[in-house]
């Protein structure tokens, strides 16, 4: 027959021909594929494996369970109308998927650590665990119902074994660090055995599985997966867009100093205080410099992004003020000479002089400061989002490491903000003569939004990390000087 024969043939004739063409045994691969059950079962097994065994590298501990949840969702969706137990499994999986997706989105915001540490998160974790047990229980009962429907003796102990395994895992998790490697290996081996048993069970259930009737779907599996992925992507995009900065209380900066303050300002300028530092101080901070005896200034221009072009100017200022004992006001000022690039979170770690050398100096007032920027010719200022002491260990090299109570500040500047700057200031008083003045400022800048889970510059700094390859870069600048008979002298210009 010529090719026209095939093409001339009408649709019904062609269908009839195709039907009459299949006379022998169906091929082995086709027999394996044509089953109402295996596809769903395979997804359930893969889903269970992925949601439990996770690799804590490259965020796989977050990615694999998410994929596993989707597989469980698809598997139980197909079986949801088979019996009420599978229906319950499906409902539970929907809830668990929603929880996992919400957590994945939450991880794109800087609030994730705070939320995860809250009591609400603990309650949700407990609920998630309860749902997990409920899912396994319903799976066990669902499998038994399928066996019963197919006229087999109900067993499916493997699904029940999963519940026991999870209960043991939960108990071990409560034990925390006391778990030995041997016990952990035994648990993993146990889990592998349970999964293998489930796989064998699904093979044993192959024949019973022909009694299963998958539920029809309006939305195909592929569309559902794509919709979930799109929803997750949109959620993560919103998380990165709306949850990557602190909410700052910006207010327009009031007019310049009055007559008396103008005199003091002129005096400080004469002593050498940089005008850009002076302009940013509040009236109270300026008044604290009344009667200034001398000013020490140390300016460092740093290339925060790792390039050659300096982008951040850090200015250390010491103002000696009169008093019974030697008193200094220390100001650590930073100024972005160019656009910081990504406007996320920024952090400052301040090692105060009195913390560094308590034998020679003590605090004579709280650490204060603020952040400023300009937009459309108007200046705005805000207090730091966080300003307070934290105990930490710091230092880039082992012999430089020290621990103590450092002052930390955290803030964000809005996109489009120009001339971004800020400062921290405090006063010190001499305890014993002969000690140098040594204060350190470590500035951590967030270079990009691209990090998962999202952490803030402050969290990064508190972790004591100096890794420049990630989303953050930290620079350290010191203000070191000593008092001599000729006046103050910088030690590390």
């Amino acid at each position: 027959m010529g090719d026209q024969g095939w093409n001339r043939m009408g649709g019904d004739d062609f269908d009839a021909l195709l039907e009459s063409s299949l006379t022998g045994l169906p091929p082995k691969d086709v027999v394996k594929r044509v089953t109402p059950w295996k596809r769903a079962m395979r997804w359930l097994l893969a889903g269970m494996a992925l949601t439990t065994l996770t690799l804590n590298v490259l965020n796989l501990h977050l990615l694999l369970p998410a994929i596993g949840m989707v597989l469980l969702l698809l598997g139980f969706r197909a079986l949801r109308r088979e019996n009420r137990w599978f229906g319950a499994c499906y409902a539970v999986t929907v809830l668990r998927t929603a929880y996992v997706c919400a957590d994945l989105v939450l991880n794109t915001t800087i609030w994730q650590r705070a939320v995860h540490a809250s009591s609400l998160a603990n309650a949700l974790t407990g609920l998630s665990l309860a749902l997990l047990f409920m899912e396994f229980f319903c799976l066990w009962r669902g499998l038994r119902a399928v066996q019963r429907k197919a006229g087999e003796t109900p067993r499916a102990w493997n699904a029940a074994a999963l519940m026991v395994w999870y209960a043991l895992l939960w108990l071990l998790a409560l034990a925390g660090d006391r778990i030995g490697w041997l016990l952990l290996a035994a648990m993993l081996a146990g889990y592998a055995l349970v999964l293998r048993s489930l796989w064998r069970l699904s093979k044993e259930l192959d024949q019973a599985g022909y009694a299963v009737r998958p539920a029809p779907v309006r939305v195909s599996d592929r569309t559902l997966v794509l919709a979930l992925a799109a929803l997750l992507t949109a959620g993560c995009a919103c998380g990165y867009l709306l949850g990557s900065r602190y909410p700052m209380e910006w207010t327009p900066v009031e007019a310049g100093p009055d007559g008396e303050a103008a005199g003091l300002r002129a005096h400080l300028l004469q002593l050498g205080m940089p005008e850009y530092v002076l302009d940013d101080l509040t009236a109270e901070e300026l008044a604290a410099c009344e009667g200034a005896l001398q000013v020490v200034v140390d300016v460092d221009d740093e290339a925060v992004d790792g390039g050659d072009m300096p982008k951040l100017r850090v200015t250390g200022v010491g103002v000696e003020v009169p008093g019974e004992k030697e008193r200094w006001i220390i100001i650590h000022h930073f100024l972005w000479l160019a656009d910081p690039g990504f406007h996320g979170t920024e952090a400052i770690q301040l090692r105060t002089v009195y913390e560094d050398l308590p034998e020679g100096w003590r605090s004579a007032g709280q650490v204060t400061g603020r952040v400023l920027y300009e937009q459309n010719g108007e200046s705005y200022a805000a207090p730091y989002y966080f300003l307070g002491e934290r105990t930490c260990t710091a230092g880039s090299l082992p012999w430089e490491q020290h621990s103590g109570n450092d002052v930390f500040a955290a803030f964000s500047v809005p996109p489009g903000g120009e001339n971004c700057r800020g400062y921290l200031t405090y006063s010190i008083e001499e305890v014993r003569d002969g000690y140098i003045i040594n204060g350190w400022l470590d500035y951590t800048h967030q270079k990009t939004w691209l990090q998962y889970p999202a952490v803030t510059a402050l969290e990064r700094r508190l972790a004591g990390s100096w890794n420049h390859d990630g989303a953050f870069r930290t620079i350290g600048v010191s203000l070191q000087f000593e008092q001599t008979e000729e006046g103050a002298r910088l030690l590390a210009p």
């Binding site: 090719d3 024969g5 086709v30 309006r218």
Partner: protein, 168 residues
């Protein structure tokens, strides 16, 4: 195969046999009758099973499917008796038609071998197992429209493959 083995077979493979029979015979009573007939055939012909030609499941599938098709044909013939049967042409093909049919069947078989596994399975679901679009859609997690689209493209591809073969 003795009687006890037949009972065991029905218990173990009953769901598979029902699964194969159901799309061809929608009536539940017909399905049960056909199942009994299939079991009888399996009992009678189990000696004919040749593992070299296919798996036991494939053989059972073929027996169940052919029994159901025979059952459906018999029913259709019974319905037509006394109505139009005397005006119908003989269902038996002429020798020339039989040769042509064999050639076409061989061509289809060769074309099917060139399809990906998933398409081949879809083809068998539709034209061998006689499953409805709704059943295929539910079992593959697809919408009915998606199944219809895939079947349309599959048939188009087959026409091309068959035409191409004839050219060659």
């Amino acid at each position: 195969m003795d009687e006890r083995e037949l009972v065991d077979l029905l218990r173990r493979y009953g769901p598979l046999l029902r699964y194969v029979i159901a799309p061809i015979l929608p009536n539940p009573q017909d399905q049960e009758d056909c199942l009994s007939e299939t079991a009888l055939r399996v009992w009678e012909r189990s000696g004919q099973f040749d593992p070299a030609r296919g798996s036991w499941t494939a053989w059972l599938t073929a027996v169940a499917r052919n029994t159901a098709l025979d059952y459906a044909r018999r029913q259709a013939r019974r319905y037509m008796v006394g109505q139009v049967e005397e005006h119908m042409p003989s269902p038996e093909p002429t020798p020339e038609e039989a040769v042509l049919l064999r050639e076409r069947q061989e061509a289809v078989r060769r074309a099917l071998e060139r399809l990906p596994g998933s398409d081949r399975a879809l083809f068998y679901r539709k034209y061998y197992y006689r499953q409805s679009t709704a059943q295929i859609a539910a079992e593959l997690g697809l919408s009915q429209r998606a199944v219809e689209g895939r079947l349309y493209r599959l048939k188009k591809r087959l026409r091309t493959l068959l035409g191409g073969e004839e050219h060659g």
